[in-house]
């Protein structure tokens, strides 16, 4: 190469080169994104439907088809909430969100006809500490809300007995408190949204 680079080599070529590389990269990634977009949207939808079914305490086969079938059969979309017909009566399912220790926690709360007793609960998304607060996603934690009456009080992990007691998570007191606050709001929110009280 010559000692002194030409204006083209020094100024124009790098810009043209970068431009070409960028266009190629964008074409590849956006092409792939567009071809998989349908699948990604379907996954997201299936995930939300599953959370609704879980919150309503409804039976379903845990496959994409099974979830779709059960959802279309049993769940009706209302203004700001969902209803579902289960063998034991109507279930009201309310999407809720509230602060956690690190970020917003999104959940689906399922309520029985009195709008106080929980039929179930599912976590949609959360950003709590892995291994501690993130354990709110574990099945035992969400399952314990079934049949419990709000407002809840927290007790030590593994000792909840009364219908308003919830096992807190050892090592995640703050997350447990935030979660209690969020679930305790469910009943009044539901009454306001569903019955306009």
């Amino acid at each position: 190469m010559k000692a002194k680079a030409t204006f083209y080599q020094k100024r124009i070529y790098p810009i043209v080169f970068m431009f070409v590389v960028t266009v190629l990269c964008i074409l590849i990634t956006s092409g792939l994104y567009l071809t998989t977009q349908d699948r990604a949207v379907a996954n997201e939808l299936s995930f939300t439907r599953r959370a609704i079914l879980d919150a309503g305490g409804l039976e379903y086969t845990p496959t994409t088809d099974g979830i779709e079938k059960a959802y279309l059969q049993e769940v009706t979309v209302e203004d700001g909430y969902y209803t579902a017909q289960s063998p034991e009566g109507t279930r009201y399912i309310l999407p809720m969100q509230g602060p956690g220790l690190w970020g917003t926690i999104f959940i689906m709360v399922g309520l029985k006809e009195d709008l106080t007793t929980f039929s179930g609960l599912a976590i949609v998304s959360q950003n709590e500490t892995p291994g501690l607060g993130a354990r709110i996603e574990e099945p035992w934690f969400t399952a314990q809300f079934q049949g419990k009456k709000s407002p809840f009080t927290l007790v030590n992990e593994g000792t909840a007995k009364a219908p308003n007691e919830i096992d807190a998570i050892t090592g995640a007191s703050r997350t447990s408190e935030y979660f209690r606050n969020l679930t305790n709001r469910a009943s009044s929110d539901a009454k306001r949204i569903i019955r306009g009280e």
Partner: protein
């Protein structure tokens, strides 16, 4: 000659030039994603895919890239491969994608990838660079899997999600939190340097 160089390129990152316990690269993800074997496996596959293919791509382009903007080009290529991993995971393994969260995107910042491109791919032929990238990825992979093995077993009493240790086992919660990663990694580096590496030197 050519064969021995190929072999050397492949073996070095696995042992005496390992990216994690010798070069101490890619530590961020080593600490972050090693609390479960499954997550770790997906993460290392993503990293292997990205290091191998971005080394290969950059090596193909190495005579065309103006050296003043080479970092930009490298980052662009790496980012493209990482986005491919992210999009494919999101479409086909949504559960895994949700668990890994931001860490897939953070593969871009994994120093091993940029390091191998700068140190190797810019001076070597495409196939050799591909092997180097793949081997570096493998060297990274087995160390991470070893750490994940210890952390998952002690932290949750499970391996690959299956319960291994009985109810007598008290989970060491610290193992699945970031400090656990530091401890296990440090102990691993220490053990390897004191045993295997020391013998080689002597």
């Amino acid at each position: 000659m050519a064969k021995s160089k190929l072999k050397k390129t492949f073996v070095e990152p696995l042992g005496k030039n390992n990216p994690v316990f010798v070069q101490i690269l890619g530590i961020c993800s080593t600490l972050a994603v090693t609390n479960k074997l499954q997550n770790t496996m997906v993460m290392v596959l993503g990293v292997m895919f990205t290091t191998a293919l971005s080394s290969w791509t950059i090596s193909l382009l190495r005579n065309l890239i103006p050296s003043r903007i080479r970092m930009m080009v490298e980052t662009m290529v790496i980012a493209t491969f990482v986005i491919i991993v992210d999009v494919v995971l999101k479409a086909f393994y949504p559960e895994m994608w949700k668990q890994l969260g931001p860490y897939v995107g953070l593969i871009i910042t994994n120093c091993i990838i940029m390091g191998r491109i700068e140190a190797f791919a810019l001076q070597n032929k495409p196939m050799l660079s591909l092997v180097d990238g793949l081997a570096s990825g493998l060297g990274y992979a087995y160390v991470l899997l070893a750490i994940a093995f210890v952390r998952e077993l002690l932290g949750t009493g499970t391996l690959w999600g299956y319960q291994i240790l009985g109810s007598w086992w008290t989970n060491w919660s610290i193992m699945i939190m970031p400090p656990g990663g530091f401890f296990v990694l440090a102990i691993l580096i220490w053990v390897i340097r004191e045993t295997v590496m020391k013998e080689k030197k002597a």
